[in-house]
């Protein structure tokens, strides 16, 4: 196992009567890109502030690079932060901003200039060193903030929704750049966002936070394809949920009876247990019953909308009240009222506790 960059032990944060973070323990490997993902109020920014030292947890310990920094002020922690509003120094040049941390560490002038230059080169702003902050665009400010935080070579870089203020196209571009820079410098990044697409695009590890607890933690693929909780399944993209009961268990395969039929899926829940099955819209096969597929039955299309990469439909199962979200290929145009046949690969179904 790789050494840990960050370790949180039993962290709780209470604001008045509200428990913002509820007994969270978490380790992040050195050199990984971790994303704290969750809805607002989920506790992700609170947790980041605890890491940066801006907020003292009500209880618990914070370890960075193996050292207990629970009592260490932000200035003395081996972490730096890219703030949501960038928080650049408006009265300094770009080079002055980037060099600030080195100045505080009493790095000699010549060495400082060299490191500032290479940090600005890394983010593609070498030409703007003498510009004032107010002359820069949003994306450029973002890069200055990143260079300013990375130039002091922190053990862990904290990013507090750094792409939130950028428009969608620039955001996607900056995601790629962030990921590339993280690979190049090898620093551990802890990034906060509420955008699950952003999280999946950049993360090595996604930590899903909801109401102050960790709902799920794992690689983007794992968290998306095999979510551990109903919240994660619903928050990471879209999903159809079918409530049912386990009626049979045999050799690691359980049979779940739901309102739309029986499904045999991998699992070891006890017979009689109430569970929820999660089916991603893109996992529902349309008019293509084949080997290994379980028929769901015919369904009437109620609404259809085009998303560029696919059509998204809401269907009602024939003779039932259950509605399912289904994705159709780009060229498959269906009008509301059409009937389509649905099937699913039981390997794609996720069993969640209810």
């Amino acid at each position: 196992m790789r050494p840990t960059a960050v370790e949180l032990r039993d962290i709780s944060v209470r604001f008045g009567a509200k428990l913002a973070v509820d007994n969270v323990s978490l380790t992040i490997e050195r050199g990984s890109f971790a994303v704290l993902l969750g809805p607002s109020g989920g506790g992700k920014t609170t947790l980041l502030n605890v890491l940066g030292g801006f907020l003292e947890p009500t209880s618990g310990r914070v370890l960075i690079a193996g050292e207990d920094v629970s009592e260490v002020a932000p200035a003395r922690r081996p972490t730096t932060t890219v703030f949501q509003d960038y928080a650049l120094f408006p009265h300094m040049t770009v080079a002055g901003n980037v060099g600030f941390g080195l100045r505080m560490r009493r790095v000699a002038r010549r060495e400082r200039a060299r490191r500032v230059r290479s940090a600005l080169e890394m983010v593609g702003l070498a030409h703007a060193a003498q510009h004032r902050v107010h002359e820069l665009s949003g994306g450029q400010r973002q890069r200055v903030a990143l260079a300013r935080a990375l130039v002091v070579e922190p053990s862990v870089l904290l990013l507090d929704e750094p792409l939130g203020a950028l428009d969608l196209k620039l955001r996607r571009q900056m995601q790629e750049e962030l990921k590339a820079i993280q690979r190049r410098v090898g620093t551990t990044f802890v990034h906060v966002t509420h955008d699950q697409d952003e999280a999946m695009a950049i993360a090595d590890v996604i930590v899903v936070l909801n109401q102050g607890v960790i709902e799920d933690i794992g690689s983007p693929e794992r968290v998306y394809l095999r979510p551990r909780s109903r919240f994660t399944a619903g928050f990471m993209g879209e999903s159809n949920f079918l409530d049912g009961d386990v009626v049979e268990r045999r050799d690691g395969v359980i049979t779940v009876a739901t309102a739309v039929g029986r499904f045999a899926v991998a699992g070891d829940e006890a017979t009689g247990q109430a569970v929820t099955l999660s089916l991603r819209p893109e996992h529902i096969h349309v008019d293509s019953g084949g080997e290994g597929l379980v028929e769901i039955g015919g369904a009437e299309v109620l609404e259809a909308s085009f998303f560029g990469t696919h059509h998204q439909c809401v269907c009602r199962l024939r003779g039932r009240d259950t509605r399912l979200k289904v994705r159709l290929p780009q060229r498959r145009i269906v009008a509301p009222g059409t009937t389509i046949e649905l099937a699913v690969d039981s390997g794609d179904i996720v069993v969640l506790a209810r």
């Binding site: 940066g52 932000p74 730096t80 703030f83 928080a87 120094f89 009265h91 505080m104 935080a149």
Partner: protein, 268 residues
Amino acid sequence: MSATRRVAWVLGAVPATVYALAIYAFIFLPVGALVLFSFQSSSLPVPPFDGPSLQWYRAVLAEERLTRALTNSIVVALTSSLAAVALGFCAAYGLARYHLRGDRLVRGLLMAPLTVSYLIIGMGLLITFNTLTIPKSLLAVGIGHVVINLPLCFAILYSQMGEHQANVERAARDLGAREWQVMALVTMPMLWPALFASYFLSVTFSWDEFIIAFLVSKFEVTLPVEIWSMLRTGLSPQLNAIGSLVFGVSVVLVLLLDLVLLRRKRAP
């Protein structure tokens, strides 16, 4: 433009121009007359104008009472404003950065003197100084001017220390700055225009202030008080000359202030 529309435009524009001119005449005629007759040759500042002559300015600068009052005014304005800005800055920083019990009440109390007339403040100071056996003096005048200018400085500075500035200070701490470095390298430079504006506004108000200075001073007086005592002996172009000087200094201060604030608007 058609003929009827042109007529309508003239009918609208002419009265508006006349009205504007009348307003400016109303505001600036007294000041204009004051300045004009400070250059009078004869010894009465009334029409007809028979100048120009600089003799009354010479007389002002030769009169020791006036030059001493002038120096007193400058010293009081510069030092009391420094104290007002320093105290206002500390109060604003404390209240903007730390959450205290009852901080809204403290803020309200700090700004409350803005609503009280200088006469009432002057009377209160007179009674207080009397009880504390602080003699009537320039020091007392300076304290009085701190009392009237502190709320103003506080209000200006507090309004500039918002959440964004707090975040920038946080970034400096995050990058390893100690508290004094945050203050010297980030907080003060970012607030520089506001500090400058509140200082010069204070100097302007202190420079002009009469009632408090009149009530709490005795032998050493500031320029407005000296002018007042000279006025009692009758009109003289010499007084016009002093008035013009006072007015000129105020204009320079306001222009300086405006320059700084304009520069801030261009470069946010």
